[in-house]
């Protein structure tokens, strides 16, 4: 290839360059995008679709009984999911509990489901071992949580209550609220048809092709984009600055709440009321643990954000939870003075990782057997004491 050091305007291009230069451009694009995508997919594999789960219309996801699947966030390790004979994510049988065991039901959305975290490193795995030691009996977790919106979570409460657990644990974060499930939704499961529907991004035929060609889908499907974001978000400051540029999504950090966020709190009020009523009918106490979103945790850790109040939404949620007679614990204060907030999360995915789950396990332990009037009686309290949340019980 001949060099062209003399690029003075006025010099004519050889004819072949009219073909060659665009071709070089095209090849460069293909090479860069292709190598970035192949490289990142090789180094950071991802499998978020759980092969045991199927979407049952408005009822949400249900797992095939006695099924084992493998999932992985690009940002995390491989996870083996074991579903028991009831299709619940649990190493224990749902129908024949171990005699004298302490049964706890997990309800709610993906954090309670221990999504993308190996069971042994999840809050369930960690507390199962610890509570068994402190309570002197085996712990039997039955997981009614899932990849649900608030309405779908609420609809599983009657099933959870029917298994007569000693307590129910639910995690809540602002993503659960932001999903915007309809407010006028009928929470009676019988009101909804049980039929399997295609997963998002899996529509059949031409509709599926068009659906998958949407820019947001392509971006979400790009591993290179995900990994780029992952490394950018490792900086708490960067993550916070970018997050605060969101409008509606970040408005929960900027009180007073917008009508959209007030509507979301109203949906929570309705759904949580339904869940608490269902569980109370079976004398099952409900522990609700609030988990801050990563940007919120960054603010709590001490980073500044103009016009923000990282505790406003916690207080509003805490009031709703207590109004329904449930116990409220707030994880937020645990992030005070934490220097490396991103290390508790999968920064792009947004879920808590194994380190974050250690924090959750501490909260669950405190919520179930800590304090003057523990929800689960007959257990020793661990010697280490966690700081009480500002909006705790």
């Amino acid at each position: 290839m001949k060099n062209d050091g003399d690029q003075k305007p006025g010099r004519a291009l050889p004819r072949r360059d009219l073909i060659l230069l665009p071709l070089i451009s095209l090849l460069t694009v293909i090479l860069l995008l292709g190598s970035a995508e192949i490289g990142t997919r090789t180094i950071w594999p991802e499998e978020k679709a759980d092969s045991c789960l199927a979407k049952h219309g408005e009822l949400g996801y249900r797992a095939t009984p006695n099924c084992v699947s493998h999932t992985k966030a690009a940002e995390g390790p491989w996870v083996e999911n074991h579903y028991n004979e009831c299709g619940l994510l649990s190493p224990n049988s749902c129908r024949s509990p171990i005699k004298g065991s302490l049964r706890i039901a997990a309800v709610g959305s993906s954090i309670g489901f221990t999504y993308l975290v190996p069971w042994s490193q999840s809050w369930q795995g960690l507390t199962a071992a610890r509570l068994a030691r402190l309570c002197g009996r085996p712990v039997d977790y039955q997981n009614y949580a899932g990849l649900y919106n608030l309405n779908e979570s609420a609809m599983r409460a009657p099933e959870a209550a029917a298994t007569h657990p000693q307590a129910a644990v639910m995690f809540l974060d602002t993503t659960d609220l932001f999903q915007d499930p309809p407010a006028d939704f009928d929470l009676n499961p019988a009101a909804h048809q049980d039929h399997i529907t295609p997963l998002p991004g899996h529509l059949p035929g031409l509709a599926g092709l068009i659906d998958n060609l949407q820019f947001n889908r392509l971006k979400a499907a790009s591993r290179a984009a995900l990994i780029g974001e992952h490394f950018a978000f490792k900086s708490g400051r960067t993550y916070l600055d970018l997050y605060l540029r969101n409008g509606d999504k970040a408005d929960f950090l900027r009180p007073p709440f917008t009508p959209a966020w007030r509507r979301r709190l109203a949906v929570l009020d309705k759904d949580l009321g339904f869940m608490a009523d269902q569980l109370r009918a079976q004398n099952v106490p409900l522990l609700v643990i609030y988990v801050p979103q990563q940007a919120q945790a960054e603010l709590i850790s001490g980073l500044s954000g103009e016009g923000t109040d990282p505790y406003a939404i916690n207080k509003a949620i805490g009031d709703i939870v207590r109004n329904h007679g449930a116990t409220f614990l707030d994880t937020s204060p645990q992030f005070r003075q934490v220097r490396d907030v991103p290390s508790y999360f999968y920064p792009v995915d947004g879920h808590l990782n194994d380190r974050g789950n250690v924090m959750l396990a501490d909260m669950v332990e405190q919520g179930l057997i800590g304090g003057g009037k523990p929800l689960v009686a007959g257990c020793r309290q661990a010697s280490r004491a966690l700081p009480r949340s500002s909006s705790g019980r």
Partner: protein, 478 residues
């Protein structure tokens, strides 16, 4: 409308197509005027907000017109003082009583750069041989040229007039390719590199102000100090690359504003490579006249050789002070002036002591050059602390680092800059030596096409990943 931005690019593309539809001068001037006014209108939709700006521009034309039509010589001085006063007032310089400020919101985007152009015309209006008759449309298009109004570069009127008149810059396929390459390079520098550096600087500031070990403090303190000049370079030179590329589609060749400033081995050299059009403007209209006045007035043989140092101090103090209206910018000006002044005094002193030839030989010594480069960068980074920060924040940083941390960070900046900049200069030489001497491999149009395409991919990918606007052009605020 942000510059650079995709929106601006679309706007300029539409303007350029219209501009090139006809070669008639009246057509091109009309299209350019519409573009200039439309661009200004994109900043506010309130007509009243334009009144002070319009007054400033029109008064400037009034002076130019009067001078070119035989007004007495003294009018030039009155005009300069009037425009200076008006500029300070509209920019709300803090030495003016705040009660005199206009209380309604008004447009001030690019006012500094309009000011430099207007002042240049007022000072040179009498020199009709060089700049010719300045017509009202040419004046408006020159002072409000949308491609360079926000932050320069400052083009001389005669160059502008030539290119919009009889000698438009050539716009063939090669020129289009080169212009697109500049636009892409500019977008990459601003939207990717300066964005990343800005984020890194924010993160470093948070880390320095937080609890760290002494070694971490020294490392992060050094990075915090050193990163800003690099960020500023990519931010500002990226903008300049972008507007030079865009202006080329209007057949205007804007002057270069940067020439590898970090390769400078002295602070004086640095200012001849950084924001070159502003330095040249000040050298022409402040340094040269001031030095001539001083040389006429001061006859002392002992002081004489140091007059240039004093004139440089004043000139570059003004550059610093021009940037802003606060005590921090004044101090930045003092440090800038001290940098070039002491540099000149050192040259004068060493030439006298060692002799011109031995001192020149020392200047060619590679180790000496590398150390000077490191010192120049370190001094620049130090002065810029008053550019990006304020006294309160600097106090916080100083308290967090402590005397040992500050000294350590300063030494690390100097040592690292010396090594890295030497490697950069040598590396560039080595890369340019690849291929034949008259056509180095790096300048191959095939390689440049691939590189520019890669930059486009990086810019787009970065925008997709970050999903947020690039940081503003720092110089837009001045």
């Amino acid at each position: 409308m942000d510059v650079p931005s995709i929106q601006f690019l679309g706007f300029a593309a539409a303007g350029a197509v219209a501009y090139n539809l006809s070669g008639a001068k009246w057509w091109r001037m009309a299209v350019l005027l519409v573009c200039n006014l439309a661009f200004l209108a994109s900043f506010t939709h309130q007509a009243g907000a334009f009144i002070p700006y319009a007054g400033f521009v029109l008064l400037g034309y009034g002076f130019v017109f009067a001078i070119q039509n035989g007004a007495p010589k003294q009018l030039r001085v009155v005009a300069i003082l009037a425009m200076l006063g008006l500029f300070f007032w509209l920019k709300k310089y803090s030495f003016l009583p705040s009660v005199t400020y206009l209380t309604f919101p008004y447009m001030a985007v690019g006012l500094s750069y309009v000011f430099f152009r207007v002042l240049h015309l007022i000072i040179d209006a009498h020199d009709s041989e060089t700049i010719g008759r300045v017509g009202p449309f040419s004046y408006l298009n020159y002072t409000l040229n949308f491609t360079s109004i926000v932050s320069g570069p400052i083009q001389r009127y005669e160059d502008y007039e030539r290119m919009t008149g009889d000698e438009p810059a050539l716009l063939d396929l090669v020129a289009v390719g080169v212009a697109l390459e500049r636009i892409v390079a500019g977008l990459f520098k601003v939207m990717v590199v300066s964005h990343l550096l800005s984020m890194a600087q924010h993160a470093l500031l948070a880390r320095v102000l937080g609890p760290e070990t002494m070694l971490e403090h020294i490392r992060d303190g050094a990075l915090l100090i050193a990163l800003y000049p690099i960020y500023l370079f990519f931010n500002f030179s990226g903008y300049v690359d972008f507007v030079i590329g865009v202006a080329r589609f209007f057949r205007i060749q804007l002057p270069e504003n940067f020439d590898r400033p970090f390769s400078s081995a002295s602070f004086i050299e640095y200012w001849s490579r950084w924001h070159m059009t502003l330095s040249n403007w000040l050298k022409t209209y402040v340094y040269n006249p001031l030095l001539m006045v001083l040389m006429r007035r001061v006859r002392s043989k002992a002081v004489g050789p140091y007059l240039a140092a004093f004139a440089l101090f004043v000139t570059f103090f003004l550059i610093g002070a021009w940037h802003g209206r606060t005590a921090e910018f004044l101090f930045f000006g003092v440090l800038n002036g001290a940098g070039v002044g002491l540099n000149q005094a050192y040259r004068t002193f060493m030439s006298a002591r060692m002799g011109r030839k031995p001192f020149a030989a020392l200047g060619r010594n590679r180790v000496y050059q590398a150390l000077c480069r490191g010192l120049t960068f370190s001094w620049l980074a130090f002065t810029l602390l008053w550019f990006w920060s304020d006294w309160g924040q600097l106090g916080q940083i100083a308290r967090a680092l402590g005397p040992l941390g500050m000294a350590g960070a300063g030494l690390v900046v100097f040592a690292t800059a010396t090594v890295v900049l030497e490697a950069m200069v040598s590396g560039r030489k080595a890369l340019l030596s690849l291929g034949s001497a008259d056509a180095p491999l790096l300048t191959s149009r095939y390689l440049r096409t691939a590189w520019a395409t890669a930059l486009v991919v990086f810019v787009l990918a970065f925008q997709v990943v970050m999903d947020s606007p690039a940081p503003d052009i720092v110089y837009k605020a001045f």
